[in-house]
Symmetry: C2
Subunit: 594 residues, 2 copies
């Protein structure tokens, strides 16, 4: 099973195109400018200065921006953008040392601490540099950056795998592992795969990071990956690592490791994932907690964790051809990931809560301690700015998530108006999806059968030719060259499992893959108290948010001065407007509830 990459896919119209245009016209420059303002690009020059101290994860921020920029450059000419990219690449290559080592923090600040402090993101930055170099080669055809990073990877292999001279065994913040697999695929050099394999296999064997059991769990150090039953610890670290583990399990046909990846994936999507595809139930350790603990107001739900679920899900499909993986990818993209960027493309959320009570966010703030709530408005830049460049690279590489193939079948995972051409295979999707569920596909599978994902959210669909449903995919019987799919997309009330106590008495509304929310700006105060009949009919209206808004009549309690009163059936009708969740917090500070 292989993935067809973004290079072979052109997004042409509709929602995805609009988001890619936003990226090209705004986001890519917005992130560049903020990183530039905060010396992140200057730091690549590795010159000590009094203006700034390069932070341990700055290289990863810049690398991810380069990677995203290169995805854009691979598709279209943009000399200005290319210039920015090449300037950064020049600095990285120029300042790598004789071993190929590059890290703007450790080359300048902690010069004697190279490979000595596991928690300082050193190998994490290396992984992102490698990913950037692959994208750079693909965009420019020039492999100088890729070669430099190969040298760096070889150096890492020597220090960590051969000499074992580093002060730790595996990366503290995983990411390098999946980058090494990509480097193998990009170069054909198997040693990079073997290094990825080594890190994946060693991870969790030695209880590194012995501060306490929780800290071990935080870094997935508490047990070998193949023994894991649940998804635990720091969300993004976990999902990056399992993405690499899924690659390794697939590539060496390792059933035990594959089963562990399946268990972890299932635990996430069946017990620890928000309806938005976001995950991470506590800001303490940015971590998973326990099954069914999904608080809405204090959700951690980092944008990067939704991104990382997409990475993980895409890789899991190689192991098991089931639509649940692409379902998770789709859920995460349209909801928990897209909420991470403002509609104007300039500002970002790190945490994506499912409920905002701006008044409550101001409780008892102190310079010493404070109750931690997610912020209510997106920001242009963060000190810890991992999310914005993940927005850049994901939006530029959406094509990566659409197709997989083997000798027998070409799988269509995601729907968007687009054309794909790769090794004699061709698929053209003509659709307004996810505005509606009508998709016309013109295709030539080069002798394979075409398999169309029927999304998990879809309770009724039609396909105008014969097909067989296999693990959530409609496998078309004839290579007929054209098929029309209609995925019914009514507004649907969704209930959480009864064990999710935070959602007791609550329903959410979805339309297609898109989760909706109610904001105070449309619905007045006390949105949390609005009562909606699950049988409500909604009016669907075009909106400023690309996708429609939903309108119905709901119920609200009267305002009152009493704190507690006898409960009566005194609900009165109140109009309810729902907007796509990803569009929340774009019209000023407001209450919000999914």
């Amino acid at each position: 099973m292989k993935n067809i990459g973004y290079l072979s896919v052109d997004v042409r119209e509709g929602f995805w195109k609009a988001k890619q245009d936003m990226l090209k016209n705004t986001t890519i420059d917005a992130v560049y400018n903020r990183f530039s303002d905060t010396y992140r690009f200057d730091a690549l020059k590795c010159k000590p200065t009094e203006q700034y101290v390069p932070h341990v994860f700055w290289d990863s921020d810049v690398a991810k921006w380069i990677e995203g920029a290169c995805y854009v450059l691979a598709k279209e000419n943009d000399p200005e953008l290319l210039k920015k990219v090449e300037a950064a690449v020049d600095d990285i290559i120029a300042n790598a040392d004789e071993n190929g080592y590059f890290n703007s923090h450790f080359l300048v600040v902690d010069q004697d601490k190279r490979f000595k402090i596991r928690d300082k993101h050193e190998l994490y930055c290396a992984g992102h540099l490698i990913e950037a170099a692959i994208a750079h080669r693909d965009a420019t055809g020039n492999d100088r950056f890729l070669k430099a990073m190969c040298k760096y990877a070889d150096y890492i292999a020597r220090v960590f795998k051969e000499e074992k001279s580093a002060a730790y065994i595996t990366p503290g913040h995983p990411e390098l592992e999946l980058a090494l697999v990509r480097l193998y695929i990009a170069t054909g050099e198997r040693r990079y795969y073997e290094l990825a394999e080594y890190f994946v296999d060693e991870h969790g064997k030695y209880g590194e990071n012995l501060i306490d059991a929780t800290t071990q769990k935080y870094n997935q150090d508490d047990m070998p990956l193949r023994d894991r039953e649940t998804i635990d610890g720091h969300c993004v670290r976990a999902l990056y690592l399992y993405s690499a583990a899924a690659d390794v399990a697939y590539m060496r046909n390792d059933k035990e490791l594959a089963d562990a990846c399946k268990r972890v994936f299932d635990n996430l999507v069946n017990k620890r994932m928000y309806i938005t595809g976001a995950s991470g139930s506590t800001n303490i350790g940015e971590a998973y907690t326990v099954d069914y603990h999904l608080p809405n107001r204090t959700a951690y739900a980092e944008t990067c964790a939704s991104y990382a679920l997409m990475l993980f899900g895409r890789r899991m499909f190689n192991i098991e051809q089931d639509s649940k993986y692409a379902d998770a990818v789709e859920r995460a993209f349209y909801n928990g990931f897209l909420s991470g960027v403002s509609l104007d493309g300039k500002a970002f959320f790190y945490e994506n809560p499912l409920e905002l009570d701006p008044e409550f966010n101001n409780v008892y703030h102190s310079t010493v301690r404070k109750e931690r709530f997610p912020i209510t408005q997106r920001k242009e830049v963060f000190g810890c700015s991992c999310c914005p460049p993940n927005v850049v690279r994901l939006l530029a590489s959406l094509g990566d998530y659409m197709y997989s193939y083997n000798d027998e079948v070409l799988y269509v995972h995601q729907y968007a108006d687009s054309a794909m051409e790769f090794e004699g295979m061709y698929v053209e999707q003509i659709t307004e999806y996810p505005k509606n569920g009508n998709i016309k596909l013109k295709f030539d599978t080069n002798g394979r059968r075409l398999a169309l994902r029927i999304p998990g959210w879809c309770r009724g669909f039609s396909i105008d030719c014969d097909y067989e449903l296999v693990n959530g995919y409609a496998v078309i019987s004839d290579n007929c060259g054209c098929v029309n799919v209609e995925l019914q997309m009514p507004v649907t009330p969704i209930r959480a499992n009864r064990r999710v106590h935070d959602n007791a008495g609550r329903i959410a509304f979805m339309r297609g893959p898109v989760v909706y929310c109610a904001e105070g700006v449309d619905n007045g105060r006390d949105v949390r108290n609005i009562r909606v009949d699950i049988r409500s009919e909604f009016e669907i209206k075009e909106s400023e948010f690309l996708l429609p808004t939903l309108h119905t009549t709901a119920y609200q309690l009267p305002e009152s001065d009493e704190l507690y009163c006898v409960a009566e059936d005194n609900w009165t009708e109140a109009p309810l407007t729902l907007i796509p969740y990803y569009a929340f917090a774009n019209r000023g500070e407001s209450e919000m509830n999914v």
Copy 2:
């Protein structure tokens, strides 16, 4: 307006008697033994030792125990208990210095820091010692302890008010202020009232404690009390201080200060109080937060804050004869306060949440950081053990909360089977209240009119003689000598104000003054998801909890493996058992929801 004290009231039967018997038979010894085990009594000897370092608030723990023990001793002979009390009193008197100063921490540990560190509970301990000394004099007739504490109080007046030689102006943890008012009443020495007045007036004028604005608010240092609009900062500190402020406002007829006390009280009971009468919405600073922010699972709701609300409410009645004050006292007592002690009288809660999810309490615990949830089971002793001895002194002095009088009216605030005799006034209450609402009162008011509180929770009542309703009290027209009151006590569904977003979609049930809850031990898993019709009829059954349990048919969702599914009307009938909230967590670890 004056209060009639516990010395004039004999509780005879029923609920209150049972709780006082529990106190005498178990709690008073349990607290004594745990305090003894932890060297709190030894510390009174003020001998340096290697076994322990006397903590800054140990004296207050012991003083409160002495106070409670003396309330018991005032009513009945108990030579063993008296011996323990006298031993402690002997140590305190023997080790007070030539100025009358006594503090087992500052006399031994921080000898050069006397009156130099505002936040170390020094004057707080002094206040509790004074209260203990008053109780001791009243119980024994011997005033040696009281005299010693008067000397201490005079010393404090010299240092703080006359010489102003201390390093701070007002107590960091208020308590001394209300103790000084009591000392004035107990001795007739007006200078103690004047010192209380001084502290109350100075408090908040100077922005003491300048760490930051929050810390100022924490200690009520951010503004003079008379300017305050809302109740803020540390709950117990706030309520102790406002109790003294209410005394001062009443005693010098200070309308401005009285109005501030009213505003603060109203803000608490109308916007910041749990249905249980508990308050404090965050453990960070053990504090009030903002209006309508009343999270159930993470409620701070300290037992001492419910106790302190009773102190405050009792005093506010002197200022304004309105039943809302005794309503708050009753609500706090039967619910947020009584939940603080186990049914066997041996163990205590510090925090009294309105919802427990034991599984969720185990999320991401780390030795470094943890998500803070209230504990799920009561403990015999805490490091910070302010709550247990407050249980001791409150249960022993319940009579304090029953009656007030002036020349025209004798007010009956609380109902319990009891007899009161004071200055020619006599009231006998024959009742099973709060098991039911039938109360026969035989009375002689010595020329006054009798006023009976009609509780705020009561929606229907009858009185078998003429009366006039004035501010929530039924003022009996004739001094007829006997009256029968029937307060209807159906099970009542209660809804919170729609602005309490944490209670959206939720109702609570009360019967009379008692809040009910559902535990997992009776109702199975996922209590939080049980749905109850507000029109449900309940069967009321005798129970092991002194008050009845409530039984009806409710609804629950089916168990499922799916995390999210289409919401259907697939609720099935499920029996529901409710128990009094104060009885929760007495049958092992269990889910609980009010």
